[in-house]
């Protein structure tokens, strides 16, 4: 059973939905308060976010830096375009690996659904090739986590 849906749309979009038991205000705060972001926006197991700067206002910047036990790391920077508490966030971001990836334009909506929230995140990449490269990057990080777990078992 999975609460998450993930699908590609057209050539350049990725759309993610997820339901939460908490109300939109709490989910919105968890996306904009650095102390909360550091607790969950960590991707595959084994990564931490020692640097989390987040200026949650239109035109504000954010910067997230991740690192793992092997001392590997990468970071993301972004700018907020629109913030509508507690229902909508629009931002652009790019990943440094270490060269910057093309901008990913992201609209995140938090809609009340019953006593909880339906979150809809719509990513728009500049072209199909960038979208594929982005998916592949995540695959590599996922594979690394799998290998790390395997090493722990051996």
């Amino acid at each position: 059973m999975s609460k998450l849906t993930l699908k590609t749309e057209g050539d350049t979009h990725i759309v993610v939905t997820r339901r939460f038991a908490a109300p939109p205000e709490a989910i919105y705060r968890a996306h904009t308060d650095p102390k909360l972001i550091q607790k969950w926006l960590l991707g595959p197991e084994g990564w931490t976010m020692p640097v989390c700067i987040n200026e949650a206002r239109p035109g504000g910047n954010f910067r997230y830096e991740w690192t793992n036990a092997k001392g590997r790391g990468f970071y993301v920077t972004g700018e907020y375009l629109e913030l509508e508490p507690y229902s909508r966030i629009v931002h652009v971001e790019r990943m440094y690996l270490p060269d910057p990836t093309p901008d990913n334009h992201v609209e995140t909506r938090f809609d009340a659904a019953g006593t909880g929230t339906l979150m809809t995140m719509r990513m728009t990449l500049p072209d199909a090739q960038t979208r594929a490269a982005m998916l592949a990057t995540n695959m590599e990080r996922g594979m690394e986590a799998s290998y790390a777990r395997l090493e722990g078992m051996l």
């Binding site: 993930l6 908490a22 968890a30 909360l36 969950w40 960590l42 197991e45 594929a132 996922g142």
Partner: protein
């Protein structure tokens, strides 16, 4: 398992951004070397070299059409594309499972005891 044996060549084939972009282009349909070379500002021999790596890894296959040799994604190439999505899904699922826990701990102080339900 065949898939496990091919894993190394698959991943070294996917390690290059141009090769990933070639796969992305082929995901939209068959293409000739000339068509593939166009968006990359690369020579046809350079693209052919990348295609050879992808073919050796079993991700891309070629067809004979007169003098043309159009390439398309092999089954493993399609699976690799699907896997990219699956891995992103996994990373997101992990994030949001953690977020569920963060949210639960945020709510606790507000929760009223003895509430009728």
């Amino acid at each position: 398992m065949e898939a496990a044996l091919n894993l190394d060549s698959t991943f070294s084939a996917l390690a290059d951004p141009t090769r990933r972009a070639i796969l992305a282009r082929l995901a939209k349909g068959e293409a000739t070397v000339m068509e593939l070379a166009q968006p990359f500002e690369m020579t046809q021999p350079a693209i052919s070299q990348h295609l050879k790596v992808l073919e050796d890894a079993g991700l891309v296959v070629r067809r004979v059409d007169g003098t043309k040799r159009p390439r398309r994604l092999a089954k493993a190439g399609i699976e690799a594309m699907d896997q990219w999505l699956a891995m992103l899904r996994k990373a997101l699922e992990k994030n949001y499972d953690r977020l569920d826990e963060v949210l639960a701990s945020m709510e606790q102080p507000k929760r009223k005891r003895g509430e009728k339900s």
